[in-house]
């Protein structure tokens, strides 16, 4: 144990001396004749890395063998391109508690009932997320203190209706045709929501005494 420490200390000293050009021929020979070239190499590269970082050269030298950018671009290449060129900002996001699987899919706005997809035999790509409760019970309001108000837990009543049980689909995980039609469905759902929001806002500006400000919430007017 102790011998090992001494040995590696000695190794470091030798490498350091060599790097500084202060190693004599004897030192160099001793270094080269070491049995464990692995640890010599490790110390050698670590010291160089340390020096390069200190001299701010690591961009060009030290991480050359770790081609991160190549790996990242490879990963990007393999990723499905976004199928939906969204003109409007992605401004509807799934509500909290609902977002277990949906958070994976930035484009997903509304969940879809299982029937349509199962017909196409794509059930394996389905991500079941929300819990199912039989009775669609609603969130119960409990009296709460005035300050630091706590609203009923969102998601307490997030089950889909129609006896199907709630299943959330994550668009990017769905292959080919299904994904496309999912996108279409999402687009449609968002377009409908935007239109509803516009109509809602029209009435809100008349009712809530805050001038045109409610219109700032409407991100898109693309209703045709």
């Amino acid at each position: 144990m102790r011998g090992e420490v001494t040995m590696s200390d000695q190794l470091r000293e030798s490498v350091s001396a060599l790097m500084d050009g202060e190693a004599d021929e004897l030192e160099l020979r001793r270094l080269l004749s070491r049995q464990d070239m692995d640890s010599t190499n490790r110390v050698w590269s670590r010291f160089h890395l340390a020096r390069d970082v200190m001299q701010d050269q690591y961009h060009s030298v030290a991480f050359k063998h770790l081609d991160i950018s190549a790996q990242v671009s490879e990963a990007i290449k393999q990723e499905r391109p976004p199928t939906q060129k969204s003109i409007a900002p992605q401004w509807w996001r799934p509500a909290a508690g609902f977002a277990v699987a949906a958070s994976v899919a930035a484009a997903l706005v509304f969940s879809v009932q299982p029937t349509g997809l199962l017909e196409q035999g794509q059930s394996q790509s389905v991500v079941a997320a929300a819990e199912v409760t039989a009775n669609n019970e609603l969130a119960v309001n409990t009296p709460v203190p005035q300050s630091g108000r706590v609203y009923p837990v969102q998601g307490a009543s997030l089950q889909a209706s129609g006896g199907g049980g709630a299943v959330i689909y994550s668009a990017p995980l769905l292959p080919g045709r299904v994904a496309e039609s999912q996108d279409l469905a999402n687009k449609e759902a968002r377009a409908r929501l935007d239109k509803y929001l516009l109509r809602h806002t029209e009435r809100a500006v008349r009712a809530n005494g805050q001038g045109m400000i409610p219109f700032a919430r409407v991100a898109s007017f693309e209703v045709e």
């Binding site: 799934p94 609902f98 449609e188 009712a207 805050q210 045109m212 007017f221």
Partner: protein
């Protein structure tokens, strides 16, 4: 004597001039009492403040920029409002992303978006007086407190804190310009006092010189024939329907002239507004059921679900600045109306 007052011009007899002066004074006082109200301060009644807030948006001439912050995002806007020859003009421009603007001339309200047909709304009418609502019971659902506020957009403000007494509405922190009563900042406060949305003026000019020409759309919308798009979808397929449950204090929004949509109901408690939409399920273009789900942005919640009404599937969507569970509860309660 009185005759001379009526018919002899300013350089008439001495007493005629006195009468004129008196009359002018009386008119001045009446005017100052009715329209140009005094500054508001921390001792002002909440009802007075709310009324000032809602009227100042319609009576003041102003031009400025504001931001809307919703959780992670901030967007900027430019707004101008003027009363010219007794008619209100308003223009709201979206400064980020695609070019969009909303222009109101009197009771005509239109949205413009590059490459799209302008969207025309039903006639615009301000038809709810907040102050009246306060007197008729808004304070059974909200608790109000007034204190001196921050300096916002270079103006001194007064803060009106509005906290809900139940969980069916959000809280508000309204910052009003002490001189004009105009709303300079609104914070919508949700669960655990979290600010869901913040609207705030960055700079504002009162009584700017804005001409009528300013209230023309800069944007060239779609030039294809077809005119404007109307949003209302009055459908014969929609049965007579209603909501079976409403949170306390909400009443139906009075509709503007020409607003005859039967697929939409809107409710307000004087501050929060939400709307319920109903449409036959089979309208889906892709033939795919996209009717279930919840979505939220800032303070705006949207809940959509499918209900069976007279044997047909319908999609109910609730959109509004209300807590999501409340929106869900409303969506669940949609039924055929008794007389339908």
């Amino acid at each position: 004597m009185t005759k001379s007052y009526f018919f002899i011009p300013a350089f008439g007899c001495q007493s005629g001039r006195t009468w004129r002066c008196l009359l002018a004074l009386v008119i001045y006082f009446v005017c100052s009492l009715t329209s140009a109200e005094a500054d508001i301060d921390a001792s002002s009644e909440p009802a007075v403040l709310l009324e000032r807030m809602s009227t100042s948006f319609h009576t003041m001439d102003y031009q400025g920029s504001f931001t809307l912050q919703q959780e992670g995002s901030v967007e900027s806007f430019r707004v101008a409002h003027a009363v010219i020859d007794g008619k209100e003009y308003e223009r709201l421009e979206y400064m980020d992303g695609d070019r969009r603007e909303i222009i109101r001339r009197g009771d005509k309200l239109n949205c413009f978006n590059v490459g799209h047909r302008p969207v025309k709304f039903s006639q615009f009418q301000q038809n709810l007086k907040l102050g009246e609502l306060v007197r008729t019971g808004i304070d059974s659902f909200y608790q109000f407190s007034v204190e001196n506020g921050d300096r916002i957009a270079g103006r001194q403000t007064l803060t009106l804190s509005v906290s809900p007494k139940d969980t069916h509405r959000y809280g508000y922190k309204l910052s009003l310009d002490t001189e004009t009563g105009l709303l300079l900042r609104t914070e919508l406060i949700g669960d655990r006092d979290k600010v869901l949305e913040r609207f705030q003026f960055v700079d504002i000019t009162f009584n700017p010189t804005v001409s009528l020409a300013y209230f023309q759309a800069d944007i060239q919308p779609d030039s294809r024939p077809g005119g404007t798009t109307r949003l209302d979808a009055d459908s014969e397929l929609i049965p007579a329907w209603t909501v079976g449950w409403l949170p306390a204090g909400y009443a139906e929004v009075e509709l503007g002239e020409g607003d005859t949509a039967n697929d939409m109901l809107s409710f307000t408690d004087g501050l929060s507004v939400f709307s319920v939409f109903l449409e036959p399920e089979d309208k889906s273009v892709s033939g795919r059921d996209v009717g279930e789900g919840n979505a939220q942005r800032g303070a705006t919640a949207a809940v959509s679900k499918t209900v069976m009404l007279s044997g047909h599937a319908h999609r109910v969507t609730v959109v509004g600045e209300i807590p999501l569970p409340t929106a869900q509860q409303i969506a669940h309660s949609v039924t055929l109306s008794a007389d339908g």
